[in-house]
Symmetry: C2
Subunit: 215 residues, 2 copies
C-alpha cells in the first residue's frame, strides 16, 4: 500500500496512526500542500483524487481510497486486529460521534483551503485568521471534552483502555491546536488521553516531525 500524505496534514496523521496501531507496512508518498500553490491541486494528484486532498490510500492493485474516515474504517474491516472500534454497537456509535465532533465540527473550519479563502477572498489579515482558527478549535475541543468528561466509557483512552478511532482523531487535532497556540486550559481529560496516546510508539511515530517530508 501507498499513503499519499503530508507531514503536517492532520487528516493524513489520523491514517498514519491507524496503520501503525495495526502494524501495517505502507509506503509514504509526500504531497506538498504548500509548495507551488499546493501539489494536491496538481494534475498528478487530482487524477488520483479529484477532491484534491490528502490522505489517499493506494492499494497494491492500484485501487484508490479517499477520506480519512473511510480509509480507517476500511483498514479496520480488512485488518480487524487490533480493532479501532469497540465490540458493541453503542460503543461504536459513541466513538464515531467523537470522531465526527472533530472531523465535522472542528477540522473543516481550520483546514488549509478555508484559511486561504479567509485571507484571500475575504481579505482577513493574519491576526484575524488566527482569531478564527482559535475560535472554532477552542469551541470544538471544549465540546469534545464534555463528551469525554464524566462519561463512564472514557478510560485510559477516549473509549476504554485501548486506542480507538476517536484517539486517531483527537491527537492530530490537539497537534493543530498547539501549533496555533489555542487555549487548552480546562481540557484535562483530553490532555491526559493525549499523553497516554503519545506514550505509544504507534502514535509517536505518526507525529509530523517524525515524517520523512518534515521541514
Amino acid at each position: 500500500m501507498k499513503l499519499y500524505t503530508y507531514w503536517r496534514s492532520s487528516a493524513a496523521m489520523r491514517v498514519r496512526i491507524a496503520l501503525n496501531v495495526k502494524g501495517l507496512p505502507c509506503e509514504m508518498v509526500p504531497v506538498h500542500l504548500v509548495r507551488n500553490g499546493g501539489e494536491q491541486h496538481g494534475a498528478a494528484h487530482v487524477a488520483r483524487n479529484p477532491q484534491g486532498l490528502v490522505p489517499v490510500l493506494e492499494l497494491d492493485d492500484g485501487r484508490i481510497l479517499t477520506q480519512s474516515l473511510a480509509i480507517i474504517e476500511y483498514l479496520d474491516e480488512t485488518h480487524p486486529h487490533p480493532s479501532l472500534l469497540p465490540a458493541d454497537a453503542l460503543g461504536r456509535a459513541r466513538v464515531r460521534a467523537i470522531v465526527q465532533a472533530i472531523a465535522c465540527e472542528i477540522h473543516p473550519l481550520q483546514n488549509t483551503r478555508v484559511l486561504r479563502h479567509l485571507t484571500g477572498s475575504l481579505g482577513l489579515d493574519e491576526d484575524a485568521k488566527g482569531v478564527w482558527y482559535r475560535h472554532w478549535v477552542e469551541v470544538g475541543l471544549r465540546t469534545v471534552e464534555s463528551l469525554l468528561t464524566n462519561a463512564p466509557e472514557t478510560g485510559r483512552f477516549c473509549h476504554g483502555d485501548a486506542p480507538t478511532l476517536a484517539d486517531c482523531y483527537l491527537v492530530p487535532q490537539l497537534y493543530n491546536a498547539r501549533r496555533f497556540a489555542c487555549d487548552l486550559s480546562g481540557l484535562d481529560t483530553m490532555l491526559r488521553i493525549d499523553a497516554a496516546c503519545q506514550a505509544l510508539p504507534a502514535f509517536a511515530a505518526a507525529a509530523p516531525e517524525r515524517q520523512a517530508d518534515a521541514e
Copy 2:
C-alpha cells in the same frame, strides 16, 4: 425511539431518510434552531447533547446517540435490512468517502453556527454570506459530482441500484443548495440520482416541508 430534529436541518434529514428506508417507527421531537437564539443551546437540549446540535436519537432505554453518521451507522448495524452500506469493504469505503466529502467538506462550512459567526463576529452582510455559502457548496458539489460521474459503481443511486448512506447525505445537501440558489449546472449525475431518490416514499417523507414543525 425519539429523534430530536428540526425540519430544515439537513443533518436531521439524513437520519429521517435512514429511519424511513428501514421502516423504523420514531417519534419526532422538534428543536427550533432559530427561535429564542436557538433551542439547541437551551439547557434542556444541552443536557441531552452537550454539542448543542441536532439530530439526537434517544433510544427507548433513554440512551442518547449524537452525530448523524454515528446514528445512521448504528441504525444500520442494529437493523441491517435493508442495508444502507454495500456488501463489500471497497464499496463501503467508497460510500463513506462520498458521505465524508459532503459531511466534512461542504456541510460544516454552510451550517447555521458558521453563518451566524460570519454575519456576527466577522461583520459580513447578507450578500457576502450568500457568496460564502454558494462558494463552498458549489465547489464541494462539483467534487462530489466528479466522484460519481463515470465511476462504474454509480448506478441508479450513488452506489449501485439501491439507496445507501451516500444518498442519505446527497439529497439533504442538494435541498440546502437549492434553498440558497446555488448553481447546479453540470451536476447531471447527482441531479439524476436526486430525482431517483425523491421518487421513493422514504426520501419524500423526510423532506423538510413534510415535517410537522415546518413553517
